[in-house]
């Protein structure tokens, strides 16, 4: 990373790159964006195929409680990763477990879990506020490129590697298990295993993306590039590739733009606004294309 930061700094000094690249945190943020973008875009297509948009939002919002628990248990408030990881994972797995064992409609169940997690988080934050400056949490909730460290990049890199390897080997089976679980079962695939694996991937990527996109907005980045790509593509392969490309572009542009334009906007909000503008363009294109 030091070499990369040095090269970027030299590039900025020589005038090849923008002045923003002379800042180490900016290089860290862009590397993080390059790592997390393709993954969010790729997983987002499965979120859409499995109709789990509400679920990914819920996991993101559950991060609030995870952060509060982490801080209360003594983790550093700028990076309460253990509390975040444990709570989000338990939340997601428990939600899926209850779904498989009750007849309650899934969206209702997610709504209940989301409300409980948010209420718990709100209650705990009152206690957290006594220990730390509550505004520090905004970085975790809405993303802040200033706070990305080499350790964060390492965690991100390992998470991304695990998810990409998992996704390459299981993408088809996860998709088949969601489109036609009976056919998947007859083919001998353990559909429950693939369901839980996917839930774990979503949770892991949510946690990995917290620093750059923010816990609250990560669900949106899982969804918007996929929704945009769905409007523009005609096959599953191009759907995944375009979604990954759009998510990566959103992360990169959304990270760079506030710096270049000197706008006081959190990186998460900026990234989501860029992704949403892609969606808007695609929607207008489809409406106009549909008319003609």
């Amino acid at each position: 990373m030091d070499t990369l930061r040095l090269l970027a700094s030299q590039g900025a000094e020589a005038g090849w790159l923008s002045e923003s690249f002379s800042y180490a945190f900016m290089v860290n943020a862009l590397v993080a964006a390059l790592l997390v973008g393709p993954l969010l875009g790729g997983l987002g297509t499965l979120v859409i195929a499995k109709r789990l948009a509400f679920f990914s939002e819920a996991v993101g919002h559950a991060a609030l409680t995870g952060i509060a628990i982490g801080v209360l248990l003594g983790e550093p408030p700028e990076n309460p990763i253990i509390g975040l990881f444990c709570f989000c994972m338990i939340f997601a797995l428990l939600l899926h477990f209850v779904r498989n064992r009750t007849a309650v409609p899934y969206d209702t169940l997610v709504g209940v879990f989301l409300a409980v997690a948010l209420a718990g988080g709100a209650a705990l934050l009152m206690y957290v506020a006594r220990k730390i400056n509550i505004h520090m949490l905004e970085n975790v909730l809405f993303g802040s490129i200033l706070t990305i460290t080499d350790f964060d990049l390492l965690v991100l890199g390992v998470s991304c590697l695990l998810i990409i390897v998992g996704l390459v080997f299981t993408f088809n089976r996860i998709l088949l298990a969601s489109i036609s679980p009976d056919i998947a079962k007859v083919r001998g695939y353990n559909t429950h295993f693939y369901d839980y694996l996917f839930v774990m991937m979503i949770t892991l990527v949510t946690i990995a993306a917290v620093k750059i996109v923010g816990a609250v907005l990560v669900g949106a980045l899982l969804l918007i590039p996929g929704a945009t790509a769905r409007l523009m593509t005609k096959s599953m392969g191009s759907f995944v590739l375009l979604s990954s490309l759009l998510a990566t572009l959103s992360c990169l542009i959304g990270t760079l733009l506030p710096m270049e334009l000197k706008l006081p906007i959190p990186s998460g909000a900026s990234i989501i606004l860029v992704a949403a503008s892609f969606f808007l363009i695609a929607t207008i294109y489809r409406i106009i294309g549909g008319r003609s």
Binding site: R230, M236, G237, V240
Partner: protein
């Protein structure tokens, strides 16, 4: 060679609703067996029990002659979201290969998938979205999927639903070919005249096994109305007692 399947005292209930009760029958290997019966009679539940998709009481044994073979399955209905860009080719590749769809550059896979679609007359629809296809076309694709691994046991739940005449005829000739290859085929079917053409062994199910035997015997015009009576006029326990006797005699005939 396909497997034989033996069912012994198979029962299934959803809470207070008894779906199947005391089904005992032996399905011979290398034959086409058709399950018929009125709506709500438990035909699909019986298929799902055999496939292990539904928990049941009793015993079901699929007896493979050698090692366990492949099973092909066409569900009664599959719902594909129209806006999802899942093409017909994508769906076949999903079932055929582990290479992820976004990274599948293997031409052999695509050639094989297209050949399978061509077999069912769907090659020219390969790039259509699954959700855009008519019900009959979707059934053809599901059938193509089921035949992918050259299965020894083929289980089809109303495979000709929504199919046009050409599709139905093609289905019948394919079933006939598969029986010649000694595959075991188990089909839920509603169309009595189509079943007569299949020359299959017919099992009529309405909660219990009502009758089993050659299509010409079971589907005799004099019996049809009685066999397919939607309402179970006799209490389930009485019917079950009667059916046990029927099943036993059927087994001995098959043996």
């Amino acid at each position: 060679m396909g497997p034989s399947i033996s069912l012994s005292n198979v029962a299934l209930r959803y809470e207070n609703n008894i779906v199947l009760q005391d089904i005992s029958v032996s399905l011979d290997a290398g034959k086409c067996h058709v399950i018929m019966g009125p709506n709500g009679g438990g035909k699909t539940s019986l298929l799902r029990s055999i496939l292990g998709l539904t928990p049941f009481k009793g015993e079901i044994n699929v007896n493979w002659t050698d090692k366990k073979g492949k099973i092909g399955y066409v569900p009664q209905k599959a719902t594909f979201e129209p806006s999802l860009p899942l093409t017909v080719l994508d769906f076949i590749l999903l079932n055929q290969s582990r290479s992820p769809l976004f990274f599948n550059f293997n031409k052999k896979h695509k050639v094989k998938a297209l050949a399978q679609l061509a077999r069912l007359g769907m090659a020219d629809r390969a790039m259509f979205r699954m959700g855009q296809l008519s019900g009959g076309e979707q059934q053809r694709v599901l059938f193509a999927q089921a035949l992918l691994d050259n299965p020894d046991l083929l289980i089809l739940d109303e495979p000709t639903n929504g199919m046009d005449d050409q599709g139905v005829r093609y289905f019948e000739s394919l079933i006939s070919d598969l029986v010649k290859e000694q595959k075991t085929i188990l089909v839920v079917h509603h169309d009595i005249s189509a079943v007569r053409r299949l020359e299959a062994i017919v099992h009529v199910v309405n909660g219990v096994l009502i009758e089993s035997g050659d299509a010409s015997e079971v589907l005799h015009t004099s019996k049809i109305e009685q066999l397919f009576n939607h309402y179970r006029s006799t209490p389930m326990t009485d019917v079950a007692n009667k059916s046990t006797a029927t099943t036993t005699s059927t087994n001995s005939e098959v043996a």
